[in-house]
């Protein structure tokens, strides 16, 4: 019963929670947080059930209001969308648990709006992932985007400006996407993805379709912050509240990347992709490679932890772009696995920045000293583990995404991609060890005073924040050792047969 309804239940749960929270919150403020946690837990439950069913019985198709596709809107749960959806719900659940204290501290009095908007954002993102209809995807994209702008705007003083910038760029991206959909609709007369995929071979040479596809890719690339269209991201992530960043950063760009996967590998005709559209793929890959290097270099230059992590996200999006561009099973595996790994480690790292803000009042890298290792030993340890994974050292999760991508690049003799992947590892070492060196080694002021003789108060983050942080940090080791299982059982089934 639930399993056949799962595609619609997940976005609807989030949307319902979004509506419920203001009502509940009006009665009892604390209940708003509880509703958000329960809502995301329920959605997570549905997505796990849906994923199990999909893997066992194949794709689940849900027809909205009983209208048959291609006329009606179809919601589809296949291994790819089920996986991404489970990732969204899982991250959201953990972020909601984490959020209570951090939201109270960073954006007091705005909790109800915050939780309601978070649920709205997730409703939009889950809808984007589930829908099998190009225009419907746009609708959910706008729901997610508007909620996202508002979430970013509830931040520090400068958040409003960065939210506005995010809004302008996001709207441009969405408009490109819509324009592309319109051009494809003119040529095919349908909006249903499966239907378009069937009609594609007949119309794919028309300029309208090609321009339409390019516009879709452009719009999506802007939303996923592919270099050089990433400029909105660092500001938005830096000035938003930590919880909002921890929610948007791991999954926001991933869903846009998912749209790219969906359109390029499931809508476009495979032969067409490998001939005429090869240039498009190559451009995505080279931009990704450039983003990997640029994002990493910019990350080295930052003095604020959240901003550094934001630039690192630009680099990580590049990995996914490179994987897409390889258009091979290894590239596919690498990109999806990296999306999962990056979601977990970036979420963990933003949690850590939140823990620091709560206890230190800031997350400025130059002001960090080795007092941290004494006052927040677990947070520091989690940072170390997450950083090792971000750098991509085995046996943590981060290594294996890079491993498959590197093998994929070697398979096709793409030495530029390989070099970008490997050089970024060194750059990652530079910016993460820069922080770790301060965290563990930099003596406190005044110089020469032995810190161990001072009384450093142990002020670790509260359990509601620390437990999610440590859970994510440890899961990086689990994900590393279980990567072969994940790839075989979850990722390989989602690779389209022709690849």
């Amino acid at each position: 019963m639930i399993s056949s309804q799962a595609p619609i239940l997940i976005p609807m749960t989030f949307l319902f929670a979004a509506m419920l929270i203001p009502l509940v919150g009006a009665v009892n403020r604390a209940a708003a947080h509880l509703t958000a946690v329960l809502g995301s837990a329920l959605a997570l439950y549905f997505s796990v059930i849906g994923m199990q069913t999909t893997l066992a019985q194949g794709r689940i198709s849900y027809h909205i209001a009983g209208w048959m596709p291609p006329i009606g809107i179809e919601f589809v749960m296949d291994p790819l969308s089920a996986f991404i959806c489970a990732l969204l719900c899982g991250v959201t659940f953990i972020v909601m648990v984490f959020g209570k204290r951090s939201v109270e501290y960073e954006i007091p009095q705005k909790e109800i709006a915050f939780y309601s908007l978070s649920m709205l954002l997730l409703g939009g993102l889950a809808g984007m992932v589930m829908t099998g209809d190009l225009f419907n995807l746009y609708v959910y994209l706008e729901i997610a985007a508007l909620a996202g702008y508002a979430l970013v705007a509830i931040g520090d003083k400068r958040a409003v400006v960065s939210a506005f910038r995010y809004l302008v760029m996001g709207t441009v991206g969405a408009t490109f996407y819509l324009l592309g959909v319109a051009l494809i609709f003119i040529s095919t007369g349908t909006l249903n993805m499966a239907d378009i995929a069937q009609l594609m071979p007949m119309v794919q040479d028309s300029p309208a379709v090609i321009v339409g596809l390019v516009l879709i890719v452009l719009g999506t690339a802007l939303k996923m912050a592919l270099f050089p269209m990433h400029a909105w991201l660092p500001d938005a992530y830096t000035h938003a509240s930590t919880t909002a960043t921890a929610l948007i950063a791991p999954i926001g760009t991933k869903v846009s990347a998912y749209v790219l996967f969906r359109v390029l590998f499931f809508v476009v005709d495979p032969d067409h992709l490998r001939t005429e559209l090869l240039n498009l793929l190559q451009i995505i890959g080279y931009l990704g490679a450039a983003g990997i290097i640029w994002g990493s270099i910019m990350a080295i230059c930052q003095s604020e932890l959240k901003r550094m992590l934001a630039y690192s996200s630009v680099a990580q999006v590049g990995y996914i772009a490179v994987g897409i561009s390889l258009a091979s099973p290894l590239g596919f595996i690498g990109a999806i696995l990296h999306a999962l790994n990056h979601a977990v480690m970036k979420c963990c790292l933003f949690f850590i920045s939140g823990n620091m803000r709560l206890r230190l009042g800031h997350s400025m890298i130059p002001q960090m000293t080795n007092g941290l290792r004494k006052s927040m030993p677990w947070t520091s340890a989690a940072f170390t583990l997450a950083a090792i994974s971000m750098i991509g050292l085995p046996p943590t999760a981060g290594f294996f995404g890079k491993w498959y991508l590197a093998l994929g690049a070697i398979e096709q003799s793409h030495w530029i991609f390989l070099s970008a992947l490997l050089i970024s590892t060194i750059l990652n070492v530079a910016y993460f060890f820069r922080v770790m060196e301060r965290m563990y080694l930099k003596p406190q002021e005044p110089e020469g005073v032995d810190y161990s003789e001072q009384t450093i108060v142990r002020s670790e983050a509260p359990a509601s924040m620390l437990v999610p942080t440590l859970f994510l940090a440890l899961s990086l080791l689990v994900l590393g050792f279980a990567n072969a299982w994940i790839v075989t059982n979850l990722i390989v089934p989602m690779i389209p047969g022709w690849l």
Partner: protein, 511 residues
């Protein structure tokens, strides 16, 4: 040697795991130093017998295998351990010397009143796990994973002092180690795309494959750059002298035995078990290796002459001796290979002895410069006596064990008709004498200053391990098969790599 039979056994895995399991215990008892050190010693005393228990099987041609978990889905590669002869040789040396180093560490760390001892002992234990993991790796991916763990776990030991110099050395070390890891990933990926397997196989895995001469050279150089950083092959050596800022037991076991020999071990694996002698010959890859390692042997010895800091002089000496092993391997003759393998263990006992002495001098007399060592032989006779044995050994004087390996290396050079390489070995022996003997001469034959009067020998925790390693060096020199059949092991490995009939190398007979 018999036909190799493999069997499944968890012993190799346990041997890797035991020191890792000690880490939480070490942290849990950080406030009770005696308890904490007990865990280190317990792990060391369990690890060594575990490794040893595999030795009889290996000598009889039975190899223990253990698959931990499938670690890569496509290609299908497992995190797999295999305790073959080469792995055993390295594992026995590393885990055996860890016991002595553990005792020595206790004496050193307490004597020098070092801080952060918990972190020190914990990192040390992780390093040993990684080293045994490297020794027992059955394929390149497993090797890489343990290699990276070793790189990371050594970092806290390098920056142990937490001063500016330590941090600078730490950064340099990280840059070198991480770049090496990256280069290795590329090399391993390309190897897989060529050979379709990453399993170590005596004689190589490229047999019967049509190879692109340019690509194969690139892969080889990538490999050598990757493992050469740890092996200190010039121009990749400069992190090693800088890393001497670490506490001396670290320099002794890790930067003379475990870490640097993991690099040399990597060279042995790559040359003997990935490329194989035939491919090496066919594409003249041995020339590349011989050029760099030959130059390193001479240059490092020359630089060592100029160092006044005792540990730095020892570090450059290590750089030179590591390249002995690499040069022996590059000769591609069974004798040279055997000599290289023997030198791996023989240099370990002699160099660890020298470092132990340097540490004892530092803790006892707070002296680090060679120019300050006048007359200390009278104050610390046991320590300096052991130092003399180690120095004589490395200079190639019989009957100390390093002479035996040098003998084989020279034989290998002659068998390969490489007069230049033979010359390098001989010249370097002289240079070794030139940079070691002045230290001995200062210690015993020059009058000491007044500041020495109040001092005696270092603590027993340090002197006993020093005497044990010195004795070991002599005993192994008199009879290479005396302990653990090192010679048979090395000869057997060469035989399998060069795929020689069993009669070629007579077993266990002193030449």
């Amino acid at each position: 040697m018999h036909e190799i039979v493999t069997y499944t056994s968890s012993v190799p895995f346990l041997a890797v795991l035991v020191s890792l399991a000690a880490v939480p215990l070490i942290y849990a008892s950080s406030n009770r130093p005696n308890m904490r050190e007990f865990w280190t010693l317990a792990a060391a005393f369990i690890k060594f017998p575990l490794v040893l228990s595999l030795l009889p099987g290996v000598m009889a041609g039975e190899v223990a295998e253990f698959t931990i978990v499938q670690i890569s889905a496509s290609p299908d590669i497992a995190l797999k351990l295999r305790a073959d002869a080469v792995g055993m040789l390295f594992a026995v040396v590393a885990s055996g010397l860890w016991i002595l180093t553990s005792f020595y560490s206790i004496g050193y760390m307490r004597g020098a009143n070092e801080k952060k001892q918990t972190r020190y002992f914990a990192s040390f234990a992780v390093c040993l796990s990684a080293t045994i993991g490297i020794a027992f790796s059955a394929n390149l991916l497993t090797f890489l994973i343990f290699y990276e763990i070793l790189s990371l776990a050594t970092y806290p030991l390098v920056i142990h002092k937490e001063n500016k110099e330590a941090m600078r050395s730490g950064r340099q070390y990280l840059l070198y180690a991480m770049s090496a890891g990256v280069v290795l990933i590329a090399a391993i990926g390309i190897t897989y795309s060529i050979a379709g397997t990453l399993d170590f196989n005596p004689g190589g895995i490229f047999g019967g494959i049509l190879l692109d001469p340019v690509l194969i050279k690139v892969v080889f150089i990538l490999f050598i750059a990757g493992v050469g950083v740890k092996a200190g092959i010039m121009p990749l050596q400069s992190w090693l002298p800088a890393a001497m800022v670490a506490p001396t037991p670290v320099s002794a076991l890790l930067h003379a035995v475990a870490v640097v020999k993991a690099g040399v071990f990597g060279v042995i694996r790559v040359v003997g078990f990935i490329f194989g002698p035939e491919v090496m010959h066919e594409f003249s890859l041995n020339l590349i290796l011989a050029t760099f390692s030959g130059a390193t042997v001479i240059l490092a010895s020359l630089i060592a002459l100029n160092q006044d800091d005792l540990k730095r002089r020892l570090a450059y000496s290590t750089v030179g001796h590591l390249s002995y092993i690499v040069l022996g391997v590059a000769l591609l003759t069974p004798e040279g290979f055997t000599g290289g393998l023997l030198h791996l263990s023989n240099h370990a006992t002699t160099k660890i002895c020298l470092f132990f002495c340097a540490g004892a001098i530092y803790v006892n007399l707070h002296k680090t410069k060679i120019s300050q060592l006048d007359g200390i032989g009278r104050v610390m006779p046991w320590t300096m006596g052991a130092f003399t044995i180690g120095a004589l050994g490395l200079a190639g004087v019989p009957p100390i064990n390093a002479f035996v390996s040098k003998w084989f290396l020279c034989q290998g050079a002659m068998a390969a008709d490489q007069t230049i390489i033979l010359g390098i070995f001989l010249l370097s022996g002289l240079l070794n004498a030139a940079y070691f003997f002045p230290i001995v001469q200062r210690a015993f034959f020059r009058p000491g200053g007044k500041d020495l009067e109040k001092h005696g020998e270092a603590s027993l925790f340090m002197v006993v391990p020093i005497c044990i390693v010195a004795t070991l060096s002599v005993l192994l020199g008199l009879q290479p098969n005396l302990i653990l059949n090192m010679y048979d092991l090395a000869a057997g490995i060469s035989q399998s790599v060069f795929q020689l009939p069993a009669v070629f190398i007579a077993s266990g007979v002193w030449p």
